[in-house]
């Protein structure tokens, strides 16, 4: 295991052994429930989870990845560890998944920054070591690029659908693929999310601690609201359900899939503002671009023509069709459930 400095633990708290960390600092979970000063950390932890359910990344007190004062830094780590305790106490899988995803995104930013760090070689080294330890990818640096073995590259990129990730569209030399820091981190995004999720799932669930009840209850009710917010209801055809699931898992949905989903929901009279949040987990999410594209499809900008949802036939050719018996006799996903005879 990697030995981490103080600010490294704050950046990558999921690498710390939670129980051990608290013990080393001389704290017990019970104290956090009672001590009014420590209670602030629970508030922070609650906030950290809440933010993740909104598809946002928790904004930390770290300034540019460096904690200004020791206590800020400590609170930072506490809030992560306590967030896990809260999540385990709620037992809500959806919350855990959302949280892990958001934390992965957060760590991604630091990893990318550390990889690109020219002035501090030790930061870069640590990022490289984390990637090696966690995902068994040996990254080396060469001519301002990171290089990874072609076989490693293929094992991770194989699930990406964009053509620019195809090996033929990469710079390949002597058995290595050349990547920028951003691309390197993008390559392990899914694994990073899985790593954090697994870590949380495997963490022991403590018995309820006094002082934790309130935030736990709040999170449970939050998760209920949040579940009804997701628009997967029975009336959607399997292709649309599949697309929504892919996005919820934070995986990449190809452009054609996004087009299908957006045009379908627009045709069902959902507004651009209602649809946009669906794309928040997409690996390459950018709010402005998403709104722009949705408005374009809705015909509220640009040409003014509203795009229609592709036919089942077209979707089949794009591998987006997951027909079930109820799909018989329909030609377009929009007819699903309307023509049952």
């Amino acid at each position: 295991m990697i030995t981490l400095g103080k600010d490294e633990i704050a950046k990558y708290p999921f690498l710390a052994d939670a129980g051990q960390y608290l013990k080393d600092k001389g704290f017990t979970l019970q104290q956090f429930g009672i001590d009014p000063d420590l209670k602030l950390s629970i508030d922070k932890a609650f906030n950290r989870v809440q933010v993740s359910t909104e598809g946002k990344i928790y904004k930390s007190d770290l300034i540019d990845g460096e904690a200004s004062k020791d206590f800020v830094l400590e609170r930072e780590v506490f809030s992560f560890l306590l967030a896990i305790v809260l999540l385990k106490l709620t037992g809500m899988t959806t919350l855990i998944k959302r949280f892990a995803l958001a934390e992965a995104r957060r760590a991604e930013k630091y990893l990318e920054k550390d990889l690109a760090n020219i002035s501090d070689g030790s930061k870069k080294e640590l990022a490289i070591r984390i990637i090696d330890d966690l995902f068994s990818i040996q990254i080396k640096e060469q001519n301002n690029h990171f290089i990874i073995p072609v076989s490693n590259y293929l094992q991770h990129s194989i699930n990406f659908h964009e053509r620019e990730w195809k090996l033929i569209n990469r710079h390949v030399e002597k058995g290595f693929v050349f990547l920028t820091p951003h691309e390197t981190v993008r390559l392990i995004r899914k694994e990073l999310g899985n790593y954090i999720t697994t870590k949380i799932f495997n963490a022991k669930t403590p018995t309820m601690i006094s002082g934790f009840e309130e935030p736990v209850d709040k999170l449970i009710s939050l998760s209920k609201k949040f579940v009804t917010h997701t628009i997967t209801t029975g009336e959607y055809p399997p292709c649309i359900k599949h697309a929504i699931e892919v996005l919820e898992r934070g995986e990449n949905l190809p452009h054609s899939g996004r087009f299908m989903l957006a045009t379908f929901l627009l045709a069902r009279n959902q507004s651009v503002q209602q649809i946009a949040p669906l794309f928040k987990n997409a690996p390459d999410y950018n709010e402005r671009v998403t709104l722009y594209q949705l408005n374009h499809l809705a015909g509220t900008s640009g040409s003014g023509t509203q795009y229609s949802c592709p036919s089942c036939e077209k979707l089949k050719t794009q591998n987006l069709c997951f027909a079930i018996p109820e799909c018989d006799n329909i030609f377009n996903p929009l007819q699903f459930g309307k023509r049952r005879k």
């Binding site: 073995p149 072609v150 076989s151 293929l154 094992q155 990129s157 194989i158 053509r163 620019e164 195809k166 090996l167 033929i168 569209n169 710079h171 390949v172 030399e173 002597k174 058995g175 290595f176």
Partner: protein, 373 residues
């Protein structure tokens, strides 16, 4: 094939196997491989395992297989059914076949044999005698076929070495015994890759799935400096050499490319893929459970040996892979085209009795163009 021909082929094959054990070895890590074989006029027996050369040679002498195969994959239990074998890894393997190269020479040396009336004619889609469309096409590959296949081998090895970091000593090229070459890559970083990842490698080697942006072309506001240079490594370099030719022509041609536009560029990439990409059979490389003709064994499509090419540049299959003896045999030959083995010309034969050396008799009977008189 009649019993008479089968008996003759089995005798010839048996003699070869007996005389040339030195050419036929079990591969490394023998006990982890799956073996399979076929006898003349019968089905395939798969999912076997062998211990050593002794067991292999015994199998050859006892069964006189028409063809014998071995997996490129390594398994914990090679003799169990496929889903219980426990796949561990597989050597990377490529098949280059002249018939996939769409060469013009092909029509000159392919004959059509009718399944209904046995008429043998020059290449056509139906039998000229009885009009049946139930026909078999037999090719007697020519020098061009072999030379063009070699070019693909060179392209392939170059990309494997330069781009994919394969060591030259770990690449072995075999003549398949019929129309092409099998290229084996041992001990590479790719051993453990599954089928989907191998498919990506295939696309890379074949120059497939390219996007214009990779080679500097953009939909909006193309930028001249993004286009590749002749001295670039990898595909950008190969692309430049093909499209620009000379360094001095780059500037002019980049201007042309930009003015022709994005979709024309896209089309160009597809057009040059067969020229600069290696023409390999994608399915062979992607399949990680296949069995391949064992090096040193005979190919029942020709009676020629699948043999290691030590100097591929000079390699001539009709000299170096024909090991059967010179003893003459009387055959009834029916073959409208001429061919050459061991520097001797044979044919054309118009349904006539003739006396030929054993290696030629086997070649023609394997191609179904002769019977024992």
């Amino acid at each position: 094939m009649r019993a008479k021909e089968i008996k003759f082929l089995e005798e010839s094959f048996k003699k070869y196997y007996f005389d040339h054990f030195d050419l036929i070895h079990v591969p490394k890590r023998t006990s982890e491989r799956e073996f399979g074989f076929q006898k003349f006029n019968s089905g395939m027996i798969r999912h076997m395992s062998l211990k050593d050369n002794k067991e292999l040679h015994l199998l050859l002498m006892q069964n006189i297989p028409s063809d014998i195969y071995c997996s490129n994959a390594y398994y914990s239990f090679p003799n169990l059914p496929m889903n219980e074998k426990d796949w561990k890894e597989a050597d990377l393997i490529f098949d280059i076949d002249a018939k996939d190269l769409h060469l013009e020479c092909r029509s000159n040396h392919c004959v059509t044999k009718c399944n209904e009336c046995n008429e043998v004619s020059k290449l056509s889609d139906y039998c000229p005698k009885c009009n049946s469309s139930k026909i078999n096409i037999k090719s007697l590959p020519c020098k061009t076929c072999i030379e063009e296949s070699k070019k693909e081998v060179f392209k392939l090895s170059n990309i494997l070495i330069e781009d994919l970091g394969v060591e030259k000593k770990n690449i072995q090229v075999y003549f398949s015994g019929n129309e092409g070459f099998h290229v084996y890559v041992y001990e590479s970083q790719f051993q453990q890759l599954g089928s989907r990842e191998r498919a990506e490698l295939v696309d890379y080697l074949m120059f497939k799935g390219t996007i214009p942006e990779t080679f500097g072309m953009k939909k909006l506001k193309p930028n001249r400096s993004l286009f590749p240079e002749i001295e670039d490594k990898g595909w950008r370099g190969r692309f430049s050499k093909e499209i620009f030719g000379l360094k001095s022509k780059r500037s002019k041609i980049v201007s042309e490319l930009i003015s022709e536009g994005y979709s024309s560029f896209q089309k160009k990439l597809i057009d040059i893929s067969t020229t600069i990409g290696a023409q390999i059979d994608p399915n062979v490389t992607m399949d990680i459970h296949r069995i391949f003709r064992l090096p040193g064994s005979l190919n029942s499509k020709s009676g020629l040996t699948k043999i290691l090419c030590r100097d591929i540049q000079k390699f001539d299959p009709y000299l170096e892979s024909s090991f059967l003896d010179e003893n003459t045999v009387e055959i009834m030959a029916n073959c409208p085209i001429e061919f050459k083995i061991k520097n001797k010309k044979f044919g054309p034969f118009d349904n006539e009795n003739t006396t030929v050396p054993t290696y030629t008799a086997v070649y023609m009977i394997c191609k179904n163009l002769a019977t024992i008189s």
